[in-house]
């Protein structure tokens, strides 16, 4: 009797775990059968110059459901805003956009990209969100020779050590380490930190963000005394927080989205906010994080972060764009929206350069190199020879909002720009050749020296 019950129990446990593990596969199977969300955007009517050119077929893919739906939804919002402002027409060609949901799952993403290219025969791909799909899609577009404008995928190597194998991925976003290089030097010079503890996501996006900071911070003479890594979906940071050395000068926290919200909440709760200042990459305090938590000034004011964007930057191009964005969507824009909009601007600029011609995919992909946009939402931005952008990096301090900095801005806090580093490339001030001779950034490189 006992034995039968035991076997039954194990069997049920097996069903349960099989079901849990199998669900993504099941979802995928359901989704493969049909086109989940194919939309064709309305055609602009006010433009008199109706050219006879064929519509430009754009395949847009991002995570619209699943655990990464937050970032994917924001990215799509930025892109939709661009299409709407252009009334569905770019450089004389009507846009025909086919949207696919990657569900935040690398295998689904590759299936969807393959479908967009082979079935829908799109002229250009736009989108992609998590680093996990970076390499497979990178390889696919280079094999199949389809230009891919990539606003969010941040794996350093795609435009560094793998740049020689790349012609068709054009990154208009950023590399994970790019914005953290200036922050490392600035934290040493201006904030006077000497010993810093880092804590962050235990996967490449977290590793590369921390490594970028560590490299330049230690280059100045600072020390990273401890590197703490946590899994995605960690419910409770309190045990990790109690392991932080209180003798350090500050904590660099590489979190974003839901994780940033819980982290900031708990960091304040254990009383660390008054002891150890916080710094971090843009995701730590970006607008949807500020919106998402049950925060007081004590949680967020005074955190320094580095980003290519600030919704409240006073420069005309950002201010105008943010004002229009808030008026249209009701939400304060964050980095991800600005990135996707900027990707649209680059697509437009490349089309203008080729006279609207995309028939030679290789030539069209090459047309992005050297393109410069001075009035993007981010400010000036240019694509370098490795197909990665060079932009200004802003050091931002989270401050309380007294007067709305942009019309319609309703959040109680903002990412106020306190310092600007102009024209930051993925190699920062290092010599590219020497930089690439060094080991690649990773979980244990640079190593902990403290």
């Amino acid at each position: 009797m006992a034995d039968i019950a035991r076997r039954e129990f194990i069997k049920k446990g097996f069903y349960a775990s099989a079901a849990v593990l199998g669900t993504p596969l099941l979802l995928q199977a359901c989704a493969d059968g049909e086109v989940v969300s194919t939309t064709t955007l309305p055609v602009g009517t006010t433009v008199p110059d109706t050219t006879t050119a064929a519509p430009l077929k754009v395949g847009y893919f991002t995570a619209l459901t699943g655990p990464l739906a937050l970032g994917g939804g924001e990215q799509k919002l930025g892109w939709d805003f661009f299409v709407e402002e252009r009334q569905g027409q770019v450089s004389g060609r009507l846009l025909e956009v086919v949207v696919e949901d990657t569900e935040g799952n690398p295998e689904v993403a590759l299936t969807k990209v393959r479908k967009l290219v082979q079935q829908d025969a799109v002229d250009v791909l736009i989108g992609g969100l998590s680093a996990a799909i970076g390499l497979p899609v990178f390889e696919f577009v280079n094999e199949n020779e389809v230009p891919w404008v990539s606003p969010s995928i941040a794996n350093d190597q795609l435009t560094q050590r793998l740049a020689g194998q790349n012609r068709f991925m054009i990154r208009t976003g950023y590399t994970a380490s790019q914005q953290n290089h200036p922050l490392g030097e600035w934290a040493y010079d201006e904030l006077g930190y000497r010993n810093v503890v880092t804590i962050g996501f235990d996967f490449p996006f977290g590793w590369e963000q921390v490594a970028g900071f560590q490299r330049t911070f230690e280059g100045r003479g600072g020390t990273v005394v401890n590197k703490i890594w946590t899994e995605l979906g960690t419910p409770d940071y309190s045990p990790f927080l109690s392991g932080i050395d209180r003798d350090a000068d500050a904590v660099f926290a590489a979190y974003s989205s839901a994780s940033a919200v819980s982290f900031l909440q708990q960091y304040q709760e254990v009383g660390l906010r008054n002891e150890l200042p916080l710094i971090g990459p843009f995701g730590l305090t970006y607008e949807s994080v500020l919106r998402g938590g049950d925060f007081t000034d004590d949680h967020v004011v005074g955190i320094h972060t580095a980003s290519r964007f600030s919704a409240v930057h006073p420069q005309v191009s950002t201010r105008d764009w943010a004002t229009r964005f808030i008026a249209e969507t009701g939400d304060e824009p964050a980095d991800t929206m600005a990135d996707a909009y900027t990707a649209g601007r680059f697509l437009e600029a490349a089309l203008e350069k080729t006279g609207g011609d995309t028939s030679d995919a290789g030539a069209f992909a090459d047309a992005f190199i050297g393109l410069r946009i001075d009035d993007s939402p981010l400010g000036p931005i240019e694509i370098d020879e490795d197909r990665n952008p060079v932009f200004n990096v802003y050091i931002r301090r989270t401050s309380s909002v007294e007067e709305p900095p942009v019309p319609g801005y309703e959040l109680p806090w903002m990412n106020e720009v306190v310092e600007t580093f102009e024209g930051v490339s993925q190699y920062w001030t290092f010599d590219k050749g020497e930089y690439l001779e060094e080991p690649a950034y990773g979980r244990d490189y640079p190593p902990v020296s403290g």
Binding site: A19, V20, L70, G73, D236, S242, A258
Partner: protein, 288 residues
């Protein structure tokens, strides 16, 4: 040394706070599994729905207690509907019932995404429970202490229900031998209905309480389901006392091991599960 005592005390309290939340979600899951023999895979979705509903109602009425009820009651009603109109049709076909709960999970998850979007949402804490208090030389959030208190009260209530009431006796009997309970003339359908509703309500209430601790966002449903499964494996199915001990120990193990060996997060969580499955598959207090 004061720091040593305070280190362990802070791990203890933080661990118990997480444990209290795990108990709220795990106990209902365990009851349903023990009694009906099915793994309710929609349990995490019930939790998340409770969290979202509580936050939505808080935004309307600005009242924390009402928000908690809003998380619990509609989810309880939903659980009742699921049992009455779906699970009951497939009584005895456990695999079909489990597949049905997956379907409910997916539908709920997509509906929540459609309604509330992908943004992280957090239930604001009432001023009484906001902030933190200092103990020796560390600080702990008042809300965590509140969670521990809720966990203890609910735990005592459930224990009383299970061991001192006649419905509790029926439930215990049902876990041991469902056929015999039917045989003595008890309407087991009503018991099933009550337990699924009750389990869902507990998950919803847990979601509402957890909404101020972990927040609410797409994907949390899967995490919560996983924790519930761990609680059942360690505690033993159908045992409330087992669930309480398991939830508290998982909270403690999670905290202490992460503080001492942060690189082994998932190992320290799943190693006990593997050991239990290998050497004591009925869990701590599960009935054979």
């Amino acid at each position: 040394m004061a720091t040593d005592i305070s280190f362990w005390l802070s791990q203890l309290l933080n661990g118990l706070a997480l444990g209290a939340l795990l108990f709220l979600v795990g106990s209902g899951f365990s009851l349903i599994m023990g009694l009906m023999g099915i793994v309710n895979l929609a349990h995490g979705a019930f939790y998340l729905l409770g969290a979202y509903l509580a936050i939505a109602l808080y935004e309307l009425l600005d009242n924390f207690v009402l928000a908690l009820l809003a998380g619990a009651i509609p989810v309880l009603a939903l659980g009742m509907g699921v049992e009455r109109y779906m699970l009951r049709r497939f009584r005895g076909q456990e695999l079909v019932q489990v597949l049905l709960t997956i379907g409910i999970w997916i539908v709920l998850a997509d509906m929540m995404l459609a309604i509330w979007g992908g943004d992280v949402r957090t239930l604001p804490r009432p001023s009484m429970l906001a902030g933190s208090v200092g103990i020796i030389d560390f600080r702990i959030g008042v809300y965590r202490l509140f969670l521990i208190a809720v966990g203890v009260v609910v735990g005592l209530g459930l224990w009383f229900f299970e061991s001192r009431t006649s419905l509790g006796a029926v439930v215990r009997a049902g876990v041991d031998d469902e056929e015999m309970v039917r045989g003595v003339g008890i309407n087991i359908d009503k018991v099933f209905l009550a337990m699924v509703a009750f389990g869902a309500g507990l998950a919803g209430a847990g979601g509402a309480l957890g909404g101020a601790f972990l927040g609410a966002f797409p994907g949390l449903d899967g995490d919560i389901l996983l924790y519930s499964i761990i609680v059942v494996i360690v505690g033993g199915r159908g045992s409330l006392v087992g669930a309480a001990i398991a939830a508290a120990s998982i909270g403690l193990v999670w905290n202490v091991s992460n503080a001492l060996f942060p690189e082994f997060t998932y190992f320290s969580l799943f190693a006990p599960v593997a050991l239990f499955l290998a050497f004591r598959p009925r869990g701590l207090l599960g009935r054979t």
